[in-house]
Symmetry: C2
Subunit: 487 residues, 2 copies
Amino acid sequence: MRVKKSVLIVLLMTALILGGGISFAVTEWLFVDESQLETTGITEEQYTDMLNELSESVQLPKVVQAFNQIQSNYLNDVTDEQLIEGAISGMLNSLGDPYSEYLNVETMKSFNEQIEASFEGIGAEVSMVNGVVTIVSPLKDSPAEKAGLRPNDQVITIEGESTEGLDLLEAVTRIRGEKGSEVVIEVKRANSEELIPFTIIRDKIPLETVYRDLIEKDDQSLGYIEITNFSENTANRFLEELSALEAEGIDGLIIDVRGNPGGLLEVVQEMLREFIPSDRPYMQWEDGNGEKERFFSNLDEEKPYPLTVLIDEGSASASEILAISLKEAVGANVVGQTSFGKGTVQTTVPMGDGSSIKLTVMNWLSAEGTSIHEVGVEPTIDVKQPDYYYSSPIVLEDTLRPDTVSNQVRFMQVMLEGLGYKLDRNDGYFSEETAKALQAFQADEELTGTGELDQQTADLIQTRIIERIRSGQDDRQKERAIESIIK
Amino acid sequence: MRVKKSVLIVLLMTALILGGGISFAVTEWLFVDESQLETTGITEEQYTDMLNELSESVQLPKVVQAFNQIQSNYLNDVTDEQLIEGAISGMLNSLGDPYSEYLNVETMKSFNEQIEASFEGIGAEVSMVNGVVTIVSPLKDSPAEKAGLRPNDQVITIEGESTEGLDLLEAVTRIRGEKGSEVVIEVKRANSEELIPFTIIRDKIPLETVYRDLIEKDDQSLGYIEITNFSENTANRFLEELSALEAEGIDGLIIDVRGNPGGLLEVVQEMLREFIPSDRPYMQWEDGNGEKERFFSNLDEEKPYPLTVLIDEGSASASEILAISLKEAVGANVVGQTSFGKGTVQTTVPMGDGSSIKLTVMNWLSAEGTSIHEVGVEPTIDVKQPDYYYSSPIVLEDTLRPDTVSNQVRFMQVMLEGLGYKLDRNDGYFSEETAKALQAFQADEELTGTGELDQQTADLIQTRIIERIRSGQDDRQKERAIESIIK
């Protein structure tokens, strides 16, 4: 009898720098195919025994000696836990692999939330509007919706404490909490003088990772599916939305994984098996000895319609597997910018006390067997977004005036150009022409036309830019993806 | 019978950022007063036994488990040593103290070289002149001098290999080596067509840390002593030079510790005992429980002449003890900029295999008992150097032209101002006025007057700036230090 065992395999990406100075850190993870551990043919008990045996045989006297020295002689107090976590993190750091890391009990919690694409809270999208924490919309069937919260409700207190002075993240952190626990918030609603109190019982809130659209153009219908993360339920949701689109009849499909940091390996594999026939591998992987394994589907035929995958600098890991394998195995177009370049697979090893270590165990390879690690997937059609997509936010200490030089002026220039104002330069020199464009913006927005960059003007420029990005009207990459199918 | 034991105590400063974007990392260290371990009253054997006992009693099963997991499952090969060093470094990192760190066998070697203010090599100061490694001067009595190397000799080969393409550090690294070993270099000398070969036996080369000068002004004589590091022999050398100055008769003394990163605690203590009488503490320290100890000299009287200490942002640790204690205990003036701010004392603990851990064990306090940690010593007379002292080097990718904006233009502007050229701005905007100043510089240096910033012009601007700094003609801090005594 073969013992089946699920092993959690993770793909992880850290500290990604985008153009324009925006940086962010994300985590991602993959389940491995269940067939994986079957091939080793050992039981879970045998595995545990082996581990214990190994633990007893190895001694780390030098580490123990250093541990004791620090505990006895260091100037300040230090806990054993702190040193032990430090030692484990230090061993993982010594590998020089940013994807191998220690996850303590708290980070494991958010790690699991990301894997499950869920969190514990009240289920309302909130935003900062004119300095006030405001409900954008309660999620469907969420505690927030059931309690009666409505769009545009202003959150004035949380647990009796004013939200004044909190930033959005601080407010969200206070609203969130364990499933089953209660939170009291008071909101101000238009047409109501008094604050309205709500007592809401927090629950587990699922996050959507798959969004579908049908694009009609030149008498053709294009399916469009955006995937924000490869989480536990993502493959099911993807196949659901794909079926719905196919039922309507589509002449092509665009899969958008821009900004998608990756996720569970099993999930992207399940998706690839829907597109790549059994006569060729849909992906491969390689262990530390260079031994390769090729993965095949049971699929008979390719889809009858052309495929395009949208990627950018923020597409990593599972997103990259999807893009390069569809490109190599079924000739999909890949539109956008060269992707992040993470070609390794991690597993999480529980340490028995709620913490885990995440460890790189495999290289994944494309359908044809190449690694994109630290290289990225090159698009077949290279398209950048307009410059303002990559601009950093404007951070002002003082009002900025003509004939000065600064990066903040540069960001403003790029954004004003994005909003359609004419400038002679965008290198950070605050020229006459720049002042005129700024005055024109101020006039259009009914602000005092100073031609100087003050906080109010900067905030409004950024609000307009965010609106413009959200409207999608300048999404050149998506336009080219549509053109790649409708010729 | 009391057993005497020397314990190596170190003050360490890492990653110091100066104004103008210049950053550097230095190490420093201190011996503690020998009286320190006597108070514990235990023998070295007892100490070792205690350590061993402790080692046996503590287990780190979670660390061992992580160690085994990494060794069995990590994608790439990894040595036990690497993981053990990683674990120790990780424990020290977890303290959040930049001065506690692991020193492996190699870093211990350069650490000891710094403590001893010596290195193993041939003893020649070298510089890069027109892209060629060139002997500036052989040190007195060094192997380089004995072998016959002379100033301006161009080093063409080292061990038969051309120096072309090497940077200065690479060349120096190849010339250096263990005491007793041989190195063959070939040099080109003016008035000689052929290369001249030299076979030089490397030796231990002591580094000078103390420099003396006698400044005559307004019929007064001022002693001036510069200290570059508090190394093993520094206190002796300092007292030697001080005696020589006092023998000539001085009306005041300037001690210059600008850019001095610190060193051995015992060394600065020995120096303080020469100036601060026995009726007041010359410094204090404090352990983790807040227990303080005050240190006293046997000195009867203060010096009959006034003292001034020169400090800057690069003066740290032992330099700061010297400055603040002379200020508080004998009313010395402190001239310059607020110092780095390192108020802790480290010890190195040998791990038995040539490596050590460096651990923060004490806070040192000023004569009056205040800590300057993360604050620095404030000067009594605040003086900045001219802006060009703090400028970053110009790094060009392309020739820079008028009506552009960049940091490189800013650095150039600051340097041209320093050289006496008139500009309308130094904010990085390449104005007409900037171009004119650049043309004037090019004319003065007999370069083509393009008014553009090319590599040749940039190199020459920097050469002139370095010459100007070395000449000391704009050393405002030193001028004010002299004025602080001669009123």
